[in-house]
């Protein structure tokens, strides 16, 4: 049911119930988008203001978090265009396709810091899909809407993003001297 034509009090109650609880989630996504606390807070504020203005267009009971994430990506896109920060995606994907051949083994001893560090090294276009799918639990269709790309592109970027993340984690494992063969020997003793 759309919110059009309800009293202000009813609209606010619906908004408070549906949208406000996602403020921490939106902030978390914003932090990974803009990598700066002040900018993330500004982006979250803009997003909620826009969501409030457009709430009459939102279908109650549908995925409000996905709807608001789409608004946030739209606002962030505007900000980046203004600052001249938009860049082509295809170039990055083609270059990565040429270099990504070897799939390293995955270490099973991982700390939170290693995972976050590895995630930060994944290129932005792949990282955002990994976060939206594996952290924020969005469906492929919802991610496609948020990013305004075809579902096939979402699946492709997710597949590559996960692969790159595993590759970065394997680099961490090497740097700290963790090796699968050595682990097996230690476990056997």
């Amino acid at each position: 049911m759309r919110g059009f034509g309800k009293s202000k009090e009813k609209q606010w109650r619906d908004f408070e119930e549906e949208a406000i609880p996602f403020m921490p989630d939106l902030f978390r996504i914003a932090m990974w988008l803009v990598r700066n606390k002040q900018e993330a807070e500004d982006l979250v504020q803009e997003t909620f203001i826009q969501a409030l203005k457009s709430f009459h267009r939102y279908e109650l009971g549908t995925n409000c978090k996905a709807w608001m994430t789409k608004i946030m990506y739209h606002l962030n896109g505007k900000r980046k265009r203004k600052l001249g920060q938009m860049k082509l995606v295809q170039d990055t994907e083609e270059r990565l396709a040429e270099t990504l051949v070897f799939e390293p083994p995955v270490t099973q001893k991982l700390t939170d810091e290693e995972v976050i560090g590895a995630l930060k090294k994944v290129p932005e276009n792949f990282r955002e899909v990994v976060i939206l799918a594996d952290v924020e639990d969005f469906a492929y269709k919802e991610i496609a809407k948020v990013l305004d790309v075809p579902i096939g592109t979402v699946m492709s970027r997710l597949h590559r993003g996960r692969k790159i993340l595993r590759g970065e984690l394997a680099v961490y494992a090497k740097e700290f001297g963790i090796n699968l063969e050595d682990e097996d020997k230690r476990n056997a003793v």
Partner: protein, 315 residues
């Protein structure tokens, strides 16, 4: 050995889908069989499962991911204040849940009654003054109705500008290369006039039909210097009668964009950009003037020939 290697390679390709429970039942059976006999792939699967689970926990519990409680509380308070702030005309219509046509008619009737009532109360020796006042008030009332009709579709115009004009700009630059006769006429009647009034280079990028989230638009994208300008006409009709003619120019600023435009019977037209207010308005004035030229009919959905010269693009 060769078969096992191929199977391991295949397994690695679908391991993520297996973890997401996206595989067909038969494929799952194949995975189970392979895992029974392949320790490497069992280890690989375990590692990927841990990465996924660790990823979620690590991101959610990272200190930088946590919203500041004071910021959150202040934002919620500000939003509540904003929610109860009165927003004039558009708020009036939303509150009563009236379809736009009915609401405009109701508003027109109320204004007409008020005008008639004020006229009735004048003594007979002031009829001449009253008649002039009534004409002025009628004009003001009509302008207000046209302006409301135009304002009601302004969000849609912004949506077309941002989702098509800005987000798909690269697509239109590359794809709309063959100039049609109507684009040539548009350049002669509109673009050249704009160019004559500015030192910035002015260029027509595309004229086409687009579909943004189910709403149709007739859309021209221009460059004025390094500014992207949309002239957009939503397919949605206003509530005005078809024979009301072209209105005055109306202006609005919304979401960091300047909007200027007018109504022409049941249609509304918008110039949307981040140009200065007077520059944006001037483009609307030039365009409005051009629509009164007979051979520039491209911006009318009712024209039978429009399909010949538009390029449809559904996003």
């Amino acid at each position: 050995m060769k078969i096992n290697e191929m199977q391991c390679k295949n397994f690695r390709e679908i391991a993520d889908s297996y973890l997401s429970d996206e595989l067909l039942v038969e494929t799952n059976h194949g995975v189970f069989q392979h895992l029974e006999n392949c320790e490497n792939c069992r280890r690989e699967l375990g590692g990927r499962r841990e990465v996924r689970s660790k990823l979620r926990v690590a991101v959610m519990s990272a200190p930088e991911s946590n919203i500041d409680a004071v910021f959150a509380a202040n934002l919620q308070q500000s939003l509540e204040k904003e929610a109860f702030r009165t927003n004039g005309f558009s708020d009036f219509f939303r509150m009563f849940n009236a379809p736009k046509a009915f609401a405009l008619t109701a508003a027109a009737l109320i204004i007409a009654v008020l005008i008639g009532f004020s006229f009735w109360k004048k003594p007979s020796n002031q009829n001449e003054i009253a008649a002039t006042n009534q004409t002025n008030q009628n004009e003001i009332a009509a302008t207000n109705i046209y302006k409301t009709a135009w304002t009601n579709l302004s969000d849609e115009a912004i949506s077309d500008h941002t989702h098509c004009g800005l987000d798909k700009y690269d697509y239109w630059i590359k794809n709309d290369v063959n100039e049609t006769a109507e684009e040539k006429a548009f350049k002669e009647k509109v673009l050249n006039q704009i160019q004559s009034e500015t030192a910035e280079p002015v260029k027509l990028v595309s004229i086409h039909d687009c579909d943004i989230e189910g709403e149709n638009f007739h859309h021209a994208i221009l460059n004025v210097g390094n500014h992207v300008v949309s002239i957009t006409q939503p397919a949605m009709e206003t509530a005005l009668e078809a024979n009301t003619g072209i209105s005055d120019i109306f202006e609005l600023r919304r979401e960091d964009f300047e909007l200027a435009g007018f109504t022409d019977g049941g249609k509304a037209y918008y110039v949307v950009s981040d140009l200065a207010k007077d520059e944006n308005k001037r483009i609307a004035e030039i365009f409005s003037g051009s629509l009164q030229v007979r051979n520039l009919r491209m911006f009318r959905f009712a024209t039978a020939n429009y399909a010949l010269y538009t390029a449809s693009a559904n996003f």
